[in-house]
Symmetry: C2
Subunit: 298 residues, 2 copies
């Protein structure tokens, strides 16, 4: 596995800053018309600005670059994917779903704004993601493909979350947990990479390879998430630890044990790296990101 070079942290910080700037600029231009007579705008901005790793938009930008495009061409898609991700976090945290009070070390959206507004803030974000894609300064014939890919990825994520909450407190089932992880997490990371490749106008084969990288990376990411939930503290995570066991969730450690889960996470990273082979050294940052995902502590 490729360990990050000495400049990886600086590169990651710089790319995150590009995403944050794009998000800030987007909402600055939008603020006046966003919403009157309610705290909807505040609720939306609260969760977008809480930040986080910005892993998904970074993946969009870098998969575009690795596919031969300019990262700036993928900025609208990167913004759109972060809005979808933020929507999913707000709704997943609701009392009717995972009932979380804490996210990225701060109170969750519904703890601050109430459940009704939190639901609407999520609704607004997922809707607005498509407005962002539709307004992207790309060739018009590209927009239908971007919209379809984002919608399909989001639908699969929602189906995964449905399977997640519907299979709580049921006996561990390897097929179910694999379905959940593939849909709830891997589908959106796959979508990031597919969007990036599309924004680079990559042809079918490299786009499919990039999607494969994202899917395996997403599986590795979610298995690590399961493992961190068991092995880390609430302080380390910035969200409640040990919550999977408390909610009797379907997880890799519950289905396969800790050791086997760690092996499978590593295997998924290897599959992700294999998908990058055709891209040569252009994909080095994506290789470093894979290392980053498997080594992360929160």
């Amino acid at each position: 596995m490729r360990r990050p070079g000495p400049d990886f942290d600086a590169w990651l910080a710089r790319t995150r800053a590009e995403v944050d700037t794009a998000l800030d600029e987007h909402f600055r231009g939008l603020a006046p018309q966003l919403a009157s007579h309610s705290r909807l705008a505040a609720a939306v901005q609260y969760s977008v600005q809480v930040g986080g790793k910005r892993l998904r938009p970074v993946l969009v930008l870098e998969s575009c670059r690795a596919s031969g495009g300019r990262a700036t061409d993928a900025l609208p898609a990167a913004v759109a994917i972060e809005l979808v991700h933020t929507f999913s976090l707000i709704h997943d945290d609701l009392p009717a779903m995972d009932n979380d009070d804490l996210r990225r070390g701060r109170p969750t959206n519904h703890k601050v704004f109430g459940e009704g507004l939190a639901i609407l803030a999520g609704d607004w974000l997922v809707t607005h993601a498509f407005a962002v894609l539709a307004a992207a300064p790309v060739a018009p014939e590209l927009v239908p493909r971007l919209v379809r890919v984002l919608a399909e990825g989001t639908e699969r994520m929602i189906a995964g979350q449905a399977a997640d909450i519907e299979n709580e407190r049921r006996p561990s089932d390897a097929a179910v947990v694999q379905y959940i992880h593939l849909h709830k997490t891997a589908a959106l990371l796959e979508t990031c990479c597919r969007l990036g490749a599309l924004c680079a106008r990559a042809s079918e084969e490299p786009t499919a390879a990039m999607a494969r990288y994202g899917r395996h990376l997403g599986l590795a990411f979610q298995i690590m998430d399961d493992l961190l939930d068991v092995t880390s503290s609430t302080e380390q995570l910035g969200k409640r630890a040990r919550k999977d066991a408390a909610a009797a969730k379907q997880t890799y450690p519950a289905a396969f044990g800790l050791e086997s889960s760690a092996v499978q996470a590593r295997r998924e990273v290897e599959a992700a790296l294999a998908a990058l082979e055709p891209f040569g050294s252009r994909a080095d940052r994506l290789r470093e990101l894979a290392w980053y995902v498997i080594q992360r502590r929160s």
Copy 2:
């Protein structure tokens, strides 16, 4: 005002049947991949199939036809708008919002499937609406415009719902109730007509006129909704009556009184009809629909 001709009911029933057929076919093709390991597909289909007036998709089809297009060209947009409308009903009915147990005479989605799944069914529907537009067999350069119009209308609707729930139990305020009705209801009916005109490849001026018709029709529709809530029974409405007063909602009757509200509803219908003038007799069905909206009893 133009009273419906003798064939209006038959025409409306036929157009609704076209919408229902398109929805059925769409979901039949989709069923296998919609969702495994959860009741998400069942929750989505439950609310889509409960039916209702299908006023919004009928408006899409007929505004396309009145703008010189073929109604079939607007079928994907009609399906998309009904999915967005269904999403909004599911989320509006949630306990954290309007807390309704009954919709179209049947238990609301969350009463049947639980709150978590109802939230996800709504999320899936709004997302899928954009997938439907992106896959529409129209000129590719039309798709970004359709997506943008649908997203903007949906965002405004969500902002209206936010203002609605945030201004409950506050003193009646004419500016607030006008904002709510303009956004929560009129924005989506305006969107229907704008989408229909765009699908007919209408130019800017007729598209704006059609949008104006939809906006005023939407305001008339919502004022009538407020009035019916006061004057009808639960059996007549198929949903709980007198719920606006119970929730201390911002409504036209509360802000302006019953009589003045009825006058304003009629005035909005007149403004809607005025917008149709450039379309001549081609817009007769839309005129009849305006009559239908103001005369409806549920």
